[in-house]
Symmetry: C2
Subunit: 406 residues, 2 copies
């Protein structure tokens, strides 16, 4: 069995993804891995033999603490889908040759449902050739759409950013004594977990948002504008959270109604944006009031200056749990988070066969939504509130959060 | 002379505008004002006799601290331009009748260059009718475009938000090993102070942005795309900061090239947005790479969760200095900030005749820009760096910054 470990980061970045890297790195070192390599730009980079020796790159506890506070993937990421091993063995032969050269015994891949596809294929191929490399997936995605796990590291911090910013936008919208509509566009192609987090803004000091539009439900532009109009009878300043992924009954994305250049990534995902701008324009025309479109864009996945300490801690823990599993000879699995209780909030880690999570999406349960599908119920708030608790203060140097990079 | 004070907030909000309110409120109380009233929605609200007695609304030191941490105008704001006193005396008669009823001796107005127009007209009218109400302007604007004063409260925190977020966006843009262009749109109609603050991102841990496009200079779309193309030969991920107010040689805003609903506010300002989207689309078409448009939108003026302590402290100080001036029988003036030195950074407050600042705009000096107008020089960095220093930690309650509202 190989003596070294290798770890990669894949898919969209988060503000806490490097805490998982730290978790893997430290646990692998303490469990006796001689070297811990990092793939540069995930599995895709390995095809060009692009990797670093993390044991040489990360040598101080200050670096470790900076890593926890640095958003976006330290090792770089990729959106690369491995071919089916049965169809293109050459790719795998190349990778496993490199694994042999690097004396790899353990492979960890930090990512979402697309990235778990990589673990699935690699471990499947390993089995067919009798390789004993242990391969474990480490969950990460702001989208929170991974199956089986209670939630995913990255989500809590994105939810915290969204809720905090929505609170600020609500305050801002109330500043003038005039009718206005603000439409906030939040990430999430098919699952509305991030958009729903906007509901957290409501509290003793904030009236909250007026409507939430999730991609789980069919979107109707006319009904939407009617509801905004209705909401504005109650308060002059209306704030609505809309998922970038909302679709019409005919299956088209709302953003397709707008006039936009399109981009399709390696996984076949469209670049969705412009939903809020389209709806804000429609509201301006039909309701005759001031409107504003705000896209949180990549800010929601890279806002390292406001993260959830619960999230960072769990991101670190799943990294460590992955290493533990691998050293206990598990393979072809992903680490999960299992919630023991909401209040007091308690979680533990678990393991799941990779087949149960790869390429699968988990959506918001219907019973957590209000009947008219314009909001979420207390059950959802109870679910998400613990995930945004506590903070990890950035290291401010000369007035700005300090990061670390390769 | 009246025994009471009244204070209003006007124009666009900032994340620290309430620190100036606290400054006025506490100084007026300690100097003996019997009551301190707050205009609701500025001078416009007074026409409908909408005001509060702050002496009753703010009674605890916890409220004071929450106010300093609450973005957007606590009292509400307006974008209202008073008529010329010579043309419409009735408006003034109404206001001064209310001032008499409320026994007002001191009036403070927190705002930018448009708002200082209000102080100018009110004090001019007061002189003509022999009123002894002291009227002092308190500077506030994220735009930093007020004349005479070294800088304006609100700018430092917005600059800190911009620089911190730009750093994060740069990290995010580097995550995939592919060519991409991110165009960040930053507020500022005619003055590029906010956009230039993106230059602060550069440092030991960040390569900084590739180009800054200020509204002070004529914008050429073709030249812009050429430069982006050139920059991309050096690095795959290019990040550019563009002011919402960039204009073509023929005077049209770049955002007018895009297809957008338009909105013109009470001061005749157009709602400028869509510049980054237009440029990102052009870059996608002409350079054939992935592009992204990010608008900081109102987030840059309401991000109370990341503020500059220097800025908050100065916002508080200008409020106090305004009260001091009024009690020393000054009127028709605005408080200024005077820089004594860059390093160590030292400022003091001053006073300026309101005529010198009302309706005037201060732009970035040409000598602070690079020769090709795509960046700023060290002089600018030396100017702005002190303004983003230190933090005022939000009061996090249940995971989110706590605010206060009326």
């Amino acid at each position: 069995m190989g003596n070294n470990a290798i770890v990669g980061q894949s898919g969209g970045p988060t503000s806490v993804i490097n805490a998982s890297l730290v978790g893997v790195f430290q646990a692998a070192q303490s469990r006796g891995a001689k070297r811990v390599y990092g793939m540069l730009n995930g599995i895709q980079g390995l095809f060009e033999e692009r990797y670093v020796d993390l044991s040489e790159a990360i040598t101080s506890t200050l670096q470790i603490e900076l890593l926890k506070r640095t958003p976006s993937s330290y090792l770089g990421s990729c959106r690369y889908k491995l071919p089916e091993p049965e169809k293109d063995e050459a790719a795998y032969q190349k990778l496993f040759k490199l694994f042999k050269k690097l004396d790899i015994g353990y492979l960890f891949y930090i990512g979402g449902n697309d990235s778990m596809d990589t673990i699935q294929k690699l471990s499947r191929y390993a089995k067919t050739i009798g390789s004993d490399i242990r391969m474990i997936g480490v969950p990460k995605t702001i989208d929170n759409d991974l199956a089986v796990t209670d939630h995913t590291p990255g989500y809590g911090s994105a939810a915290k950013y969204i809720a905090a910013t929505v609170k600020e936008v609500i305050r801002d919208g109330l500043v003038y004594n005039q009718r206005n509509v603000t439409i906030i566009e939040i990430m999430g192609r098919n699952a509305g977990w991030l958009t729903a987090a906007a509901a957290l803004a409501e509290g003793e000091d904030c009236e909250g948002i007026d409507m939430i539009c999730l991609p789980e439900n069919v979107f109707d532009v006319d009904l939407f504008l009617e509801r905004v109009d209705e909401a504005q009878k109650e308060r002059k300043s209306v704030v609505v959270a809309v998922s970038e992924g909302v679709k019409l009954a005919d299956g088209r994305y709302v953003c397709e109604l707008a006039d936009n250049a399109e981009f399709i990534d390696a996984f076949g995902h469209r670049n969705l944006s412009g939903t809020s701008r389209y709806l804000a324009n429609q509201a301006a025309i039909r309701l005759g009031c001031k409107t504003r479109a705000i896209e949180f864009s990549t800010l929601q996945r890279c806002a390292g200056h406001i993260t959830s300490r619960v999230d960072i801690t769990e991101a670190f823990q799943v990294g460590g749990a992955a290493v533990k599993a691998a050293f206990e000879l598990k393979t072809g699995c992903m680490v999960t988070l299992k919630r023991l209780s909401d209040d007091p909030y308690q979680v533990t880690t678990g393991l799941v066969e990779i087949e149960q999570v790869a390429n699968k999406e988990r959506k918001i349960p219907q019973q957590w939504q209000t009947k008219d599908k314009t909001g979420v119920k207390k059950d959802f708030i109870n679910y998400v509130r613990p995930l945004i608790q506590a903070e990890l203060t950035p290291f401010y140097v000369e007035g700005l959060p300090r990061h670390i990079h390769l």
